[in-house]
Symmetry: C2
Subunit: 644 residues, 2 copies
């Protein structure tokens, strides 16, 4: 017996997510701000992602008042004016992921107020129509609109799961929030947290860092050094043989920063470690990332010394995140850049990521699936790539499947019957040509059962010769439409050779050499202090000196629209060209909801089109011109002078 446990509270058919009133006026800075109301945004985004991945509906209610609404003080109501329809204050929180959410507007008439999302709305009929009988409810504020919505939901016979990590209370009286939660639990709500409800990627915890970051944090804490610091992430050099790099991983950095906090268990652990004074650990309770991020959008091409991401935040915050910022960006940049080379080497071919097993962790494998999809891959073999990121997944059979049968032909037949619409056969377990002949021999029998053989896969041997022979056998056997896939230690060079020799291969599975970016498994990437408390800073270590100040990249394009040159300048310089670093986060909040992977993918495809012809080569060539502005050089010189 597994008890009436967490497993019964997982979103499934019949469930919907209801996000209550997560609107600007209820966030810090709004006219009716709920303390820490913005904390619910990243958590609700994780819930929403789970619901979408399961094709379950998401509803979002909003106050949508006329300017003379009865709840406003001028009209004798209890509240300051808030959430007036069509104003900024009524908009959903900027970082809230509202894609596909059904919006429920309430209290839209001057004379009637509505705390509950059910009051004078069509929410109930909408839910009933779509067969929903259970609601997962979170949002703002616990003690008003969440409470009222939950009361009504239960009155309307819905089961309710209360998202206790995604609600915040106004607390006009300090116990209002806890009392509201108690009432909801007594009404029969089941409380849950996002960790309990699903399989979804999660961000690293705050303690996932190098010890020296915490050691420095304590020293900063002791000295009160909490002024604004500017750090930039960039690479010092291109890996050998590369002509460009592609940005990727920004979404994971932003998620990490937005959710950053030391949980009670992390602080407990820091205390029991005996390494830090309790007063310092206590100070970490309120630690959040409240800074700004400017970055290259994912899919953008970049070059050495160009900032890929800039963080401007109080020094302790900007410092702590170094380890994870580097960790997150390095792998995805490596994978996207490697995958982009394969896309250039095999234009128009299906490229599939087969690397999960050879990646350096399952987390890494899924990040590689994500980055390679952005760079132009068609999909991945990794099952969770679909649940996590919406990436198409592919897969057929292994050699062991063939071997487990006594006869290869029986293995093929069984598989075809189990997967009549996805009939792909692996040919090289014993003898590739014999296997191809077996496929032809089987095809009529399978056709009679309504099964079309979609494709075959070669995984060893001379792929050029074998693909030609197999194509020939299949064509002569009437299987002209059966696709040929190839795999086995492929990389961009192998692809170039196969394409150059016109091997009749329709798609490629790429594993090991993509999964770890085998020829360049690390980047010389760093995250360096450029400015503290308004003063530019420069490190002068031998071979590792930095260019000081906060920077911008200006990229120009030639008459044909191709990339021409980049100018690396101080942020406040005004130069011709497109400014590549875009504002992504302000005061710890994302400036917009996460965009889909396909948007990044389209950007990446456009970038590869804009790449100058000679840089598309797999061979190293004349480097892309990146000019350093005179102001940066002057600044470095000035900083070097008063040698401390």
């Amino acid at each position: 017996m597994s008890t009436a446990g967490a497993q019964d509270w997982i979103p499934g058919p019949g469930d919907a997510l209801l996000i209550v009133d997560v609107q600007n006026d209820f966030l810090p800075g709004g006219s009716l701000a709920v303390p820490q109301g913005d904390d619910v945004v990243p958590v609700l985004n994780r819930y929403a992602a789970l619901f979408r991945a399961r094709h379950l509906p998401v509803f979002a209610s909003r106050d949508w008042h006329p300017a003379n609404h009865c709840s406003f003080a001028q009209q004798g109501g209890p509240w300051p004016p808030h959430c007036v329809a069509e104003t900024h204050g009524a908009q959903f929180a900027p970082g809230l992921d509202m894609s596909d959410a059904v919006v429920i507007s309430k209290a839209t008439e001057p004379q009637s107020d509505a705390y509950s999302a059910f009051e004078n709305t069509d929410l109930d009929s909408h839910l009933k129509k779509t067969g929903i009988n259970r609601l997962f409810v979170g949002g703002l504020a616990t003690d008003y609109c969440v409470l009222s919505s939950v009361r009504d939901a239960i009155r309307h016979n819905y089961s309710v799961i209360l998202l206790e990590d995604a609600i915040r209370a106004v607390n006009v009286k300090p116990e209002d929030g806890p009392k509201a939660v108690d009432e909801m639990l007594e009404l029969g709500c089941h409380p849950t947290t996002v960790e309990s409800v699903g399989i979804a990627p999660s961000s690293p915890p705050a303690v996932m860092t190098d010890l020296y970051q915490l050691a420095m944090l304590k020293a900063y804490h002791d000295q009160g050094m909490e002024q604004s610091a500017v750090f930039e992430f960039y690479i010092r050099n291109l890996p050998a043989g590369r002509n460009f790099m592609m940005a990727a991983g920004l979404a994971q950095v932003l998620e990490y920063l937005e959710g950053l906090q030391f949980t009670r268990q992390e602080r407990d652990w820091l205390n029991t470690s005996g390494r830090f004074p309790a007063e310092f650990v206590e100070s970490l309770e309120d630690f959040r990332f409240t800074g700004d991020v400017d970055a290259l959008l994912e899919g953008t091409l970049f070059f050495p010394n160009e900032p890929v991401l800039r963080i401007t935040a109080p020094l302790p915050q900007a410092q702590l995140v170094e380890t994870c910022v580097i960790n997150i960006l390095q792998l995805q940049v490596l994978a996207a850049s490697k995958a982009a080379r394969m896309v250039l080497a095999a234009p128009g071919k299906m490229l599939l990521d087969f690397g999960l097993r050879r990646a350096h962790s399952t987390e890494a494998g899924l990040r590689v699936a994500r980055a390679s999809y952005i760079a132009g891959f068609t999909g991945s073999s990794a099952v969770p790539a679909e649940a996590f990121y919406g990436i198409p997944v592919f897969g057929t059979m292994a050699h062991s499947y063939i071997q487990a049968h006594t006869e290869e032909a029986a293995a093929f037949k069984n598989f075809a019957r189990s997967w009549p619409d996805h009939t792909f056969f692996l040919l090289d377990t014993y003898d590739t040509e014999q296997a191809a002949q077996r496929v032809v021999a089987l095809s009529q029998e399978l056709q009679n059962e309504g099964i079309t053989i979609k494709g075959v896969r070669l995984d060893s041997g001379d792929l050029v010769a074998l693909s030609r022979k197999v194509r020939n056998i299949l064509d002569h056997g009437g299987l002209q439409d059966t696709l040929i896939f190839a795999s086995g230690n492929l990389d961009e060079y192998a692809l170039e050779t196969l394409i150059g020799q016109q091997a009749p291969i329709d798609g490629f599975g790429i594993g090991t050499r993509l999964a770890v970016s085998e020829d360049a498994p690390t980047l010389e990437c760093v995250y360096k202090l450029q400015e503290y408390d308004g003063q530019p800073r420069r490190k002068r270590s031998t071979g590792k000196a930095t260019w000081p100040g906060r920077k911008q990249i200006f990229r120009t394009f030639n008459d044909q629209g191709k990339m021409q040159e980049d100018h690396l300048a101080l942020e406040n310089e005004v130069l011709a060209g497109e400014a590549l670093l875009k504002p992504c986060m302000r005061e710890g909040k994302r400036l917009g909801p996460p965009v889909t992977l396909d948007q990044h993918r389209k950007r990446a495809a456009r970038q590869l089109v804009l790449l100058p012809e000679h840089l598309r080569s797999l061979k190293p060539t004349e480097p892309y011109p990146v000019h350093l502005s005179k102001k940066i050089r002057d600044l470095a010189e000035r900083l070097d002078k008063p040698s401390s």
Copy 2:
């Protein structure tokens, strides 16, 4: 307001773990078996690891009956004889991690029974004495001893957290378990699950696999192909330049296998993906790993074609786990092997893993910390390495810390005052020698404050020359005991050079090149079917043929005790030498509790001592002799003959 949320239910000071009666007789096969009673073992091990990491006590109760106990049927009691003191049935479950647990024996007298761990025991006084006021309770059985213990705990004024993922019921009547849980919740217990309570490494979910595994599983399901299969994990070749590999990662494989199941949310997701028939997905509900594992113990050295791990299990189980088995083993083998070369290159030096930021995920970074610690590293910079694995962690300051101060000397002074017992300074931000002189100039002032400068770190430049100059400056300044550490793109070759030139460096921080095993970031490692349903199997793909049958490695040693040669034979051959593959898991359960990392570390150190001298070289040399037995060759020949 964050509501009375999950954060309040985290183990901390005043908390203890109580494991109730997880004894052989209550497990499947025991005389009073609780259905799926053994499922609680891996979950309780995770709780126990959390409690130990926080220095919180663990208690384990046990029935410890005399042979004529009143509860036994012969004495007129309700139960068959069980848990008779000193018998196998009374022992704790073999895989249960009991290290440091306080054992509470109950019902030890013929005439008195005790379901509750409090009844006639000193548990209460023990808890009160150690200041415990809250108990986390799990174990067997929900509806008897767990329930009684919880009732008593509450009667004795303890708060109780019920570990709902670590209890199982007898269910004499089917509703007994749920009723017991209801009663405990009504008594005020708070239910929790292991995911909610802490930071701890977790195993990949069952859906963390390649799609083709699930495609094959469906085909096996359709065909009823569920006979026993034997798969072996091995490497085809040594990476270029390597003379040996070191086994690591077995513990993570065993954890993964032991906890493997498709949760409700995973099955829901598979259903909503639309890819599988509901009947197949439903069949996955009972999917568990019930097979056997034989493997090289961690720290053991091995060579190409030698099985590192063998899985014997029903075909679908052995197949599904391929992706994660390879994923888990490859990285740790790479990291342990690379780290072992560094240990050989720098005998007696402190080696620290600094690689978290450059690893391919934070998960990978922690696995590298673990594997390098096994291979002989002293510790890691990664904070969670301590919480997860009990690895010593180290860290001081970054360049940004120095740069954030206007004066280097002020930075040093501030840090020393914040960390008077861990005073280490980074010297190369501006000018290493000047910085060393600053350290000397400061040392008297700090000494007067009771602060001793423990060490300095060099991170760039010519480390041989600089370390000599710095040593000289420190020695002349009276700082003979101040250690010199070095870091910056180090690997085994750099270490060999530095040691060869007698650079006066006491310890090394190794980052990037260890974190991804930079010169060999992947292994040609495979997991291949060797036998199905009692019949040996062989794949003959060009360049990727396999040796059939289930194997054993026999290792012999010469007169000096050094490794002499290995014989790769069929498992049932009897050869001289030590059989290296050890039984680790039977019928899905570990044969013993996890051992400490230090035991693996000691084994690894012994292995490096036994390694023949010429193989200790960093350069590739005469390969270690591994002989293939005639029986394996004969078997391969026989299988090749009736070419199918």
